[in-house]
């Protein structure tokens, strides 16, 4: 009695899962060693190429590495989230594919790639196809300014924070586009809601970022971190401990805004599955749906990373410092995002706006005011 | 002209500051009185705005003698001309504020918002009229525009009002966009945004030699924006539609405020940036290589002719007054082409008198509409029997608009024509006179309707409902028209102020 277990799959997963686990460990080591590697590569390039070509090659390598990392992260994060959710809910979660399901995301990815790509009748085919890429672009191009270590950033823009605020709005246009192009009312509602939500939460986001900018005096993310280095145990100078503790409020506000900007629960009304079926990606299937997924998890990681940069000292830490510290801090915040998602119900649209206007913005202004006064007093 | 920094500018800036604070206060009053009775609420809104306007008016009347300064790092000018305009705008605003109180058209649901918009336009008009920087000109002009777009669309359930507003904003945005493009080219040509620096850049020989076509294009583009505000041909298309669709008090305001400010910008831009004053300051000479005087003259002639001819065909009172205001814009512009201090004085005088007669005419329109519920000239029949005094008042206003001798309108026209003739442009004055003659037809047509038509109907007539406030306002508006000659004394004051303008430039 009973069904036979699928042997081939078992074999494959048994073979691959150690590889993946080892790969993950290797990736961590690699992340820890990135500064040295980067220095090495830069040296080699400068030795062998003309300065311009070296610069181009260096930035190409930087972009490539970031894209690779950012492309792989969601795969891990999806598995991670599923495990976290499952354990919070006393379940096991994915267990089949590989050791504790580590290969699940890969299997799902393969499935998504090979799934039939359905475009509904009456959809605006061009925009329908374009939208996921736009969303993905909005989420991933923000990584260009995320600093992993001193000088270890794809593009060291001096308007980094402005760039971050500006580029994320591409995503909202993408969501609107997806919502409209689907020719589905639920999708339209989802797109509209997400755009409204992102637009209104951009205000407190910008204000909170501004409060940090006022304290640092620069829009550059490297400068933001270097302002937090040093101090007792290399963590006393983190912004979260400064400004008479008001930055804790700023930190919480920024975290809330980050949740709202990435459409994460409890602010996931654009894709509220109990109301809008799936919101803006109702009609998407196959790899296009997968792109939305990648974008969501990429954005999650980015928002967490930005929070770490702004408030938790970036790569600096009490005992160690470097990209690994940054990565671990960011992962911890990502975990908090997941933890919140699996605890809280969803807000309603008007409550979401009320929260923004009645609570978040006044407090953001408070923080900004105090920060401005404090820095005016200091200078 | 003295260039002042921010702090030292503030003392010359009191009326504007008062107005800005008033508008914020009105906004707050409107919000906190949300749950009160409508009457009480209206008092809470109207009284602070009136107080603010009156305070601002008193400050602007005081004036600081013999100072001519570029405030805020040469952003706005402070001089006699500007102070005079301040007074005009604030007085207009006070009148219009009082107009709104009993108009049946405005259902006064968002009265607070309307007053905030009115105050904003008032203060922005002052900024606009005094700007001596391209950025300021554009910014103030847009502030006036944006607020007046909303004012035109104030009756949001009314189709006409909405259409007027849409037309206004599309025309406005296109013409200001065009103007902006011109301004950007001007900035490129001269490398500066400051009008005086532009003048000096344009005066240099090499620029004059090479920049002819460029400057021509720039002037055409810039005139689009200014012309839109002045409602001169060929940027007058919006004017009849918007005047008809907008609520009448707003129309009254638009026919005076932005138009006057448009002329002020015209003078600031051309006299300040594109002409250099003579030694004694009484006349100007054009700089650059474009004969903009002829250009303005042409515009003036076409404007007044088209305005008058257009008005002949109208059956709607507001529309007729719109065309009439286009024609008056043409007359006013006559003063701008002569390139002399006299011309500016004549314009100012015309504008002041125009304020009274035009606002008066629109007030009569409001009063009649409150009772009759129509803007059609046909429906003015028999007003004479119902309200003889009102009809007589309207007659005085119309005669004044026509330019018939005993009334102030004649004075204004005479002054401006004489200035033109003095400048040796007799044929120009003749065209103006001919136009006045055409204008008399349609004004007389209204009078005929009011006095004669419908007087043979047998029904007993009920007296026209006339609110005491409006009666008083009408009196205040008509009296200056009758005693126009007495205004001479005030015109001296105008002369005095404009002398300061000449000093400045």
């Amino acid at each position: 009695m009973g069904l036979k277990r699928p042997d081939l799959e078992t074999k494959i997963s048994n073979l691959l899962s150690p590889l993946v686990v080892a790969g993950a460990g290797g990736a961590l080591v690699l992340i820890a060693l990135v500064p040295q590697l980067a220095a090495l590569i830069r040296e080699q390039l400068q030795a062998n190429l003309s300065p311009t070509a070296a610069a181009v090659a260096a930035s190409a390598i930087g972009v490539g590495a970031t894209v690779f990392l950012v492309g792989q992260l969601p795969v891990f994060l999806i598995w991670f989230e599923r495990k976290v959710a499952a354990h919070i809910q006393d379940r096991l979660g994915p267990m089949r594919v590989g050791w504790h399901g580590v290969l699940q995301s890969f299997a799902d990815g393969i499935k998504l790639v090979f799934k039939e790509d359905i475009i509904v009748n009456g959809a605006d085919r061009f925009l329908f196809k374009l939208a996921p890429f736009l969303v993905l672009m909005g989420a991933f191009s923000a990584f260009a300014v995320l600093p992993w270590h001193t000088g270890l950033v794809v593009s060291d823009l001096n308007i980094g924070l402005l760039y971050v605020v500006a580029i994320t709005s591409l995503g909202s246009i993408g969501l609107l586009m997806a919502g409209w192009a689907s020719n589905n009312k639920y999708a339209l509602y989802g797109g509209m809601r997400s755009a409204a939500q992102m637009v209104s939460y951009e205000i407190p986001t910008a204000i909170v970022i501004l409060s940090v900018v006022v304290q640092v005096g620069s829009l550059n993310l490297q400068d933001v971190i270097s302002a937090q280095l040093g101090g007792f145990g290399n963590f006393a100078n983190w912004h979260i401990f400064r400004l008479y503790g008001l930055n804790v409020i700023g930190f919480v506000l920024f975290f809330i805004c980050g949740l709202a900007e990435t459409n994460r629960s409890p602010f996931d009304i654009p894709e509220a599955e109990s109301e809008l079926v799936a919101g803006f990606h109702t009609e998407y299937s196959g790899i296009r749906f997968g792109l939305f997924f990648l974008a969501e998890y990429g954005a999650m990681f980015f928002v967490a990373g930005l929070t770490v940069v702004l408030y938790l000292g970036g790569w600096s830490g009490p005992f160690f410092e470097g990209p690994l510290v940054f990565f671990i801090k960011t992962l911890a915040l990502v975990f908090v995002q997941m933890w919140l998602r699996w605890t809280l119900p969803r807000l309603r649209v008007d409550q979401l706006m009320a929260l923004c206007w009645k609570y978040v913005i006044p407090f953001a202004f408070l923080v900004l005011l105090v920060a401005a006064l404090a820095s005016a007093g200091a200078s | 002209m003295e260039r002042l920094d921010t702090i030292s500018s503030l003392q010359y800036f009191v009326p504007e500051i008062v107005l800005v604070f008033t508008l914020m206060a009105v906004l707050v009053c409107d919000l906190v009185s949300k749950n009160r009775a409508p009457r009480e609420r209206r008092l809470l809104i109207v009284i602070p705005s009136l107080i603010g306007l009156v305070v601002a008016l008193s400050y602007s009347l005081q004036g600081s003698e013999a100072v001519s300064a570029g405030l805020f790092h040469n952003m706005v000018a402070f001089d006699g001309f500007g102070q005079m305009l301040r007074v005009i705008f604030i007085v207009t605003s006070i009148f219009v504020l009082l107009f709104t109180l009993h108009s049946n058209e405005l259902r006064l649901v968002h009265h607070g918002e309307l007053l905030v918009l009115l105050l904003t336009v008032t203060v922005a008009l002052i900024w606009m009229a005094n700007s001596i920087n391209l950025l300021m000109i554009y910014l103030a002009l847009e502030t006036v525009s944006v607020a007046s777009y909303v004012m035109v669309g104030y009756l949001k359930t009314d189709r006409l009002s909405n259409e007027a507003s849409l037309k206004y904003i599309l025309f406005g945005a296109v013409s200001t966009g065009t103007m902006l493009f011109g301004l950007s080219l001007l900035y490129g040509l001269t490398g500066s945004l400051d009008l005086f620096e532009i003048r000096s850049a344009l005066s240099s020989q090499e620029v004059v030699a090479s920049s002819g076509p460029a400057l021509m294009v720039i002037l055409v583009l810039v005139l689009a924006g200014i012309g839109f505000k002045m409602a001169t041909v060929p940027f007058h298309f919006w004017c009849p539609d918007v005047y008809t669709g907008a609520p009448t008090p707003v129309t009254a305001f638009l026919s005076v405020g932005p138009k006057v400010a448009g002329f002020a910008v015209l003078i600031r831009f051309f006299y300040g940036g594109l002409a250099s004053p003579s030694e004694d300051g009484a006349s100007w000479a054009m700089v650059g290589s474009v004969d903009w005087q002829t250009m303005l003259m042409g515009i003036s002639v076409i404007t007044m002719t088209l305005g008058n001819v257009g008005a002949l065909l109208q059956t709607n009172m507001k529309r007729l007054l719109a065309y009439s205001s286009i024609a008056h814009a043409g007359y006013i512009m006559m003063g701008a082409v002569v390139l002399s201090g006299e011309g500016i004085q004549a314009m100012l005088a015309y504008m002041i008198i125009y304020l009274f007669m035009n606002l008066g005419a629109f007030l009569v329109v409001i009063v009649v509409h409150n009772d009759v519920g129509s803007f059609d000239i046909k429906d003015y029949a028999g007003i004479w029997r119902r309200a003889p005094l009102l009809t007589i008042g309207m007659g005085i206003l119309l005669f004044s608009l026509m330019g018939i001798p005993p009334f102030a309108g004649f004075l204004a026209k005479w002054y401006i024509f004489s200035v033109v003739i003095d400048a040796g442009l007799g044929w120009f004055a003749v065209i103006g006179g001919l136009n006045s003659a055409i204008g008399a037809f349609y004004y007389l047509k209204i009078l005929k309707t009011m006095f004669i038509d419908g007087s043979d109907t047998p029904e007993p007539s009920t007296p026209l409902a006339l609110q005491p406030l409006y009666a008083g306002l009408l009196l205040v508006l008509i009296v200056p028209n009758i005693i126009g000659l007495l205004l001479w004394g005030y015109l001296d004051r105008v002369t005095e102020f404009s002398q300061k303008l000449l000093d400045a430039m």
Binding site: M1, G2, L3, R5, V84, A86, H87, I88, Q89, D90, R91, L92, M95, W339, L340, W342, T343, L344, K358, Y359 | -
Partner: protein, 180 residues
């Protein structure tokens, strides 16, 4: 104003409480089991409440007919609320050797057709109670998914004695089976 901060406080505390609960659950034992795994080879649900082995005592899953015990009384066919049982009988010839069911009842009818359409069955087990020889029973077997609907037609009547377990039909071709 007081309400504003009270709201804020309530929000923060209630969310913190909820997060505490979920965090605690993150580290508690899982309640679910791996379906079809090494630890659970029979795919049997290990209940935390019911003692082991007792859960399936009365399970009402797949129907099974011990056809050799059937006396063709058609009680089950009559009582079935969804008419999923189809029985045809022929009178046994007097000359045939007497057959007895397991409990000793004499089989007087020859069951030539005993079909149960498991896709219609509502698992109410009403057919089980009236059976005089207890030949129709519900087994704890629940994994009998098929991809073709006609596979759910279980034909129990056999010329030859059916093998005791499993009670699956011999052939998947219903036409061939119908010919018998």
């Amino acid at each position: 104003m007081k309400e504003y901060f009270a709201d804020l406080f309530a929000a923060v505390t209630s969310i913190a409480k909820g997060m505490g609960i979920t965090l605690a659950h993150l580290f508690t034992k899982n309640e679910t089991q791996q379906y079809l795994s090494e630890e659970n080879p029979g795919a049997r649900w290990q209940s935390v409440i019911v003692p082991e082995g007792l859960l399936q005592d009365r399970s009402r899953m797949r129907l099974h007919v011990k056809i050799e015990d059937c006396i063709g009384c058609k009680q089950c066919e009559k009582v079935c609320p969804v008419d999923c049982i189809d029985i045809t009988t022929e009178k046994r010839e007097k000359t045939d050797a007497p057959i007895f069911a397991a409990d000793g009842t004499a089989v007087k009818q020859k069951v030539v057709q005993f079909d149960i359409d498991m896709s219609l069955c509502c698992y109410c087990s009403l057919c089980v109670y009236p059976c005089p020889t207890e030949c129709i029973v519900m087994t704890p077997e629940y994994e009998f998914a098929e991809t073709v609907k006609s596979e759910f037609l279980y034909r129990f009547a056999k010329e030859t004695p059916a093998p005791p377990e499993p009670p699956k039909k011999e052939t998947s071709d219903p036409v061939a089976a119908g010919g018998s």
